[in-house]
Amino acid sequence: MLSVLLLRHLRRIALTVLVGGLLGATLVRLGPGFGVDERELDSRLNAQSQQAIRSERAANSNIALFYLRYLAGLAHGDFGFSQSLNRPVSELLKERLPLTMVSLAYGVLGGVALGFGLALATVWWRAPGSNLVASMLSGLCLAIPAAVIALLFLWMNAPGRWAIALVVFPHVYRYAKNLLVSAYHSPHVLAAQAKGLSSGRILLAHVMLPAAPQLAALAGISVSLAFGASIPIEVICDTPGVGQLAWRAALDRDLPLLVNITILIALMTLVVNTLSDLALASRRPAL
């Protein structure tokens, strides 16, 4: 069962690389400015050198060939060359990815902790007014664009990574709350309550444990949300991460860079989704 699921996910990841690569290569090939080489304006180059540059470019004009070269490059870890920053894409990613990953880790963990904590406070602890406060807070965070949340953090001089937490939190809160409410209304929990088990034990053994796989599945969604939020947050908080790099690439029409970042992010999201799906499947009883 698990191996079938794993195979299906691996197939999907491979398909993402192939289709994403094809779309990316087509975008780059058809994008504005493709084939324009400023070296042709260099007066020091003689006719032969200019012809060599033109032939080099002509080899890239066929989309199929271009795609195959692109895939071969990807297989060797060559993500291409950034036109705007005049540096290899892999070098730029190596420089900026760790910062984004750290921000995402803080953001996702913070968002999950806040969302799950508030869901617990509302459902288990039933603190007076907690439902109203948590619902209003999550509703407010859902209604504010990530860029405005980033601005608020910038004004408060707070680290942008916590802004990611505020973007992730309302989604986690709503999901976790619904999950906990439905778990508390399940027959086995009602039976445990009727038997007089302590509320702490009911929570840990009869609510949290069965709901753990579904909660783990939240990781995939949270990571995808956090990646999306990282662009405006890194731009506004001036964090030199991958989100800011994607934005600069979009403004500079640097398609090779932008397409590679998008494929990389999609791959990372798919890997996290695969892991959370496997966690979910491993805990599901076989029928």
Binding site: T16, V19, P32, A143, A266, T269
Partner: protein
């Protein structure tokens, strides 16, 4: 309908009415520049003051609201139609087409929304006219936002097709066209409507994010996202808190939409 939902409906109605009456409520055009009143504070002439180019903020807010409130539903309609076409046919036909569409949905959902928008937006030329930029922005939102609704519609179609009354209808020899128009489509309508309404706040927020990043609607056309760019100047916001009006209105409208759509389902997306 709860009291909060009634209040939300009132907020939406007021915002829509004000945007429709923008030409009548605002004393000037959104692009007219008053060089004698640059960065002016609120007054009877300019209820929200003027921006650094001397443009009436109140007029820009009303026209920006009109753009967001007209085009976000249009984009939602487009994405729902694409989703209905792909998700509906996938659920109805099944087989290879369903597998292909499901794979497409999974691929689209694995790409973070804003990265995808940036990639496609970057492909478009820089010298688009302001009007074209509005259409392109919302067209992109509509064309790229189909995956999540398509998943729901495909699942809904599958469930309906397996329901007892449709199995019985097929067993009694109903034609495919009649099955679709008479039984499937009317029962799918609630899902389609829900997906349409759910997409509107998502698109409003996406436009705001794109606008704040400088990749949304082009100047001089106003939009909520473009107007939020002013907030980057913290000291100016502190001195002129009325600059927060677009943010407040955006939050009020999106909160109202979410309050009206509020359901206790388990879907985290």
């Amino acid at each position: 309908m709860t009291r909060a939902q009634k209040a939300a409906l009132l907020v939406l109605a007021l915002a829509a009415l004000a945007s429709l009456l923008a030409g009548w409520l605002a004393s000037s055009s959104y692009s007219e520049q008053f060089r004698d009143a640059i960065s002016a504070p609120p007054s009877a002439r300019f209820p929200l003051g003027t921006d650094e180019l001397g443009r009436d903020r109140f007029a820009r807010l009303l026209y920006g609201t009109r753009i967001s409130l007209l085009l976000a539903p249009a984009a939602a309609l487009l994405s729902t139609l694409i989703a209905a076409l792909l998700g509906g046919t996938a659920g109805y036909l099944g087989g290879r087409w369903e597998r292909a569409v499901t794979t497409g949905i999974d691929l689209f959902l694995s790409l973070p929304w804003l990265f995808l928008l940036l990639a496609v937006r970057a492909l478009l030329p820089l010298n688009t006219s302001p009007l074209a930029s509005v259409v392109i922005t919302f067209l992109l939102l509509g064309c790229l936002g189909w995956a999540s609704p398509a998943r729901m519609i495909r699942a809904g179609t599958r469930t309906l097709l397996n329901s007892d009354y449709l199995v019985q209808a097929r067993a009694s020899g109903i034609t495919a066209a009649r099955l679709f128009w008479r039984h499937l489509l009317p029962n799918l309508r609630p899902i389609l409507l829900a997906q349409f309404w759910v997409s509107i706040p998502v698109f409003i927020l996406s436009e705001a994010n794109l606008g704040l990043l400088g990749l949304g609607v082009s100047e001089p056309l106003p939009s909520w996202g473009a107007m939020l760019r002013e907030l980057e100047n913290y000291t100016a916001v502190l001195r002129n808190p009325w600059m927060l009006a677009p943010a407040v209105l955006l939050i009020a409208v999106v909160s109202s939409l979410q309050l009206l759509l509020r359901t206790e389902d388990c879907n985290p997306c």
